[in-house]
């Protein structure tokens, strides 16, 4: 399923008559929101928040890549920050060395990062779970060290393009149509939207089905004829491609890149916010990016130390792991509905009964699979004991 939201829409509208208008309403709402984000937000907020918005758009792409790996395929990668750094490096080098259009550089950086990131994903073919997480973390560490040694291109010559002198460094160029910060914000949001379209197209078609099968049961996937190796690599390639594009956008957004900005532990923060945003919904990636980029900007402008974020993320991840596995994207609407019911119950005391019934039905989806599993386990166990009875 593409997103839990889409899933619930499909579930509740079984008759084709109702499916038709809904399927049109949804894209319309998304388009309206996109236009709002594109034009209204840069018009009303300060340049400080426009820049934060650019970072949100870029990190939404990074989060989306990890969302695919962890949420769709079940591959935990702790190397995404390094993949992002590779994308930024390649883009910066290309932007200094060539006069190719920015869009072409985005594409080439995505493709090169896809190949390099695919190498990071190679261990995924043999490992899973914690071992894969550890291996990707180590590789990310190695890449970060390598990039810190080579340095990020800043207009110099040679392979690295690094110029030792720190004075009068040229800025990384931006596309002609997006020279100003608000324009580059819009540019980034549009590419983030394209990344979502690309991922959605994957999730809703053949690879999405194969990934769902692999995540639940690799043997069931193999038994259905799915080449699990190819589809896992495909997921890594897709995630690396969009993360590479995000890296190229980051090069354009920041205009000056320093290795100190790319740290191995960022990968862990990205995983934390992706989990908090909601791993089973692609839209969770947007929440993740807001948590990672907008929240620090807000705290900074309020004069609150950003160290509090680490504590907040720690608590948030614990909360997700213990009580809300589907993250904020699932939990918040549910809590709002629950709050609404509570208020209604307080308002009309006599009608508490139906409200209670609604409350239990709302909890049902979350616990449905658990209950079903229990039911099945009991059902499977029963004939087993009957048989034992027959045998003796």
């Amino acid at each position: 399923m593409a997103a839990t939201g889409v899933g619930s829409a499909e579930r509740s509208s079984l008759s084709p008559g109702r499916l038709q208008p809904r399927s049109l309403v949804r894209p319309a709402v998304i388009l309206a929101l996109l236009l709002l984000v594109l034009f209204l937000i840069p018009a009303i907020v300060s340049i400080y928040y426009v820049d934060a918005g650019t970072q949100v758009a870029i990190y939404a792409i990074v989060a989306l890549g990890l969302n695919v790996l962890v949420g769709r395929v079940g591959l935990v990668s702790l190397g995404q920050a390094a993949v992002l750094a590779m994308g930024a490096w390649v883009a910066a080098r290309l932007l200094f060395a060539t006069s190719l259009p920015f869009e072409v550089v985005l594409l080439i950086s995505g493709l090169i990062t896809m190949v390099l990131g695919g190498l990071v994903g190679l261990p995924a073919l043999r490992m899973s779970g914690m071992y894969l997480a550890l291996i990707t973390l180590m590789l990310a560490g190695a890449i970060t060290v390598a990039l810190a040694t080579i340095n990020f291109p800043n207009g110099g010559h040679g392979f690295s393009g690094y110029n030792g002198s720190l004075l009068h460094l040229p800025a990384i160029r931006r596309p002609a149509i997006a020279q100003s910060d608000p324009a580059f914000y819009r540019y980034s949001v549009i590419f983030a939207a394209l990344a979502f379209v690309l991922v959605l197209a994957h999730v809703r078609s053949r690879p999405g089905r194969a990934w769902a099968a692999i995540r639940q049961s690799e043997s069931a996937a193999l038994a259905a004829g799915i080449n699990t190796t190819v589809y896992k690599m495909w997921a890594f390639a897709l995630a690396s491609f969009i993360t590479g594009v995000a890296g190229a956008l980051l090069a354009g957004a920041n205009q000056f890149l320093y290795s100190i900005n790319f740290q191995t532990q960022d990968s862990i923060t990205i995983l934390a916010v992706v989990l908090m945003g909601g791993i089973f919904s692609l839209w969770g990636a947007i929440i993740a990016a807001l948590l990672m980029q907008l929240l620090p900007a807000l705290l900074n402008s309020w004069g609150v130390s950003s160290d509090w974020l680490l504590i907040l993320f720690g608590v948030g991840v614990l909360q997700v792991l213990t009580t809300a596995p589907a993250g904020l994207i699932d939990q918040v609407p549910k809590d709002i509905r629950r709050l609404g019911r509570g208020i209604r119950r307080l308002a009309g005391g006599g009608r508490a009964q139906p409200a209670d019934a609604a409350a239990s039905s709302d909890d049902a989806p979350a616990s449905a699979s658990a209950a079903l599993d229990g039911e099945r386990a009991a059902a499977v166990a029963a004939p087993e004991s009957e048989r034992a009875g027959e045998g003796s």
């Binding site: 499909e10 079984l14 769902a212 639940q216 043997s219 193999l222 004829g225 799915i226 080449n227 048989r387």
Partner: protein
């Protein structure tokens, strides 16, 4: 037709399959035996999850053991699992389409084939319903549909009726009996429910401790002294 000869599987000191030789002809064949007899191990060898120590498996003239596991599914080996493995996150349609799009069946007839197979197994739910919301019977049927869609040549059903109440088992038995109308595949049914096996399968093979102890017409096999002894233990025969 599947021809198994001298198939041996070893896990360390355990020999779950010991020089098993048997032929399965077209139609539905039963494979029974007490717990731990090697039935599921045999299925795992056919679907490529377990590498045998020795022996050969030839199906319709092709050497199965030479193929990679996912290629066997493409070739036509399909199976269900003892613990049902319908993909919860996907819809009924997508679950079945999943097997179709990785089979040799043409993609132009996918929609039609998938919907036909869903109705063939008697699933009355909306094809767009998420499998995670379905009950045990429907999930089983989704898994069976996934094994039958496309062009299966060998269908392995591993205790498909486990955990189902009697009437649902009867429905499943109906579906299994009608499989020859749907495809030309060799169907091998593993189940502990003897009434299901005897109603679906004209021939049955019996495994015990990895050894084939009987094979032939189902009614003869079920009366075979060795089979009775394997199921009830020697004590019961002595009494």
């Amino acid at each position: 037709m599947i021809e198994v000869s001298d198939l041996t599987v070893r896990f360390g000191g355990v020999t779950p399959l010991d020089a098993m030789s048997v032929k399965f002809e077209k139609g539905t064949c039963g494979l029974i035996g007490p717990n731990g007899a090697g039935k599921t191990t045999f299925f795992n060898v056919l679907s490529g999850f377990v590498k045998p120590a020795s022996g050969s498996v030839t199906a319709f003239g092709d050497d199965l053991l030479k193929m990679a596991h996912f290629r066997r599914a493409r070739w036509g080996v399909r199976r269900t699992f003892q613990t049902e493995q319908a993909i919860e996150e996907l819809s009924v349609y997508d679950n079945v389409a999943l097997a179709h799009e990785h089979s040799k069946a043409p993609s132009s007839s996918r929609r039609e084939d998938v919907l036909n197979t869903i109705s063939f197994v008697g699933l009355e739910t909306d094809p767009q319903a998420r499998v995670g919301t379905l009950g045990a019977r429907d999930r089983r049927l989704v898994e069976v549909a996934r094994a039958l869609v496309g062009q299966p040549r060998v269908v392995l059903l591993d205790e498909p009726a486990a955990g189902l109440p009697e009437e649902e088992t009867a429905h499943l038995g109906d579906v299994i009996k009608r499989i020859p109308e749907h495809s030309d595949a060799v169907v091998i049914l593993v189940d502990h429910d003897m009434s299901l096996v005897s109603s679906c399968c004209s021939v049955t093979a019996v495994l015990d401790f990895g050894k084939l102890i009987a094979a032939g017409q189902t009614e003869d096999v079920l009366r075979d002294e060795n089979v009775v002894r394997a199921y009830l233990g020697t004590q019961a025969i002595d009494e």
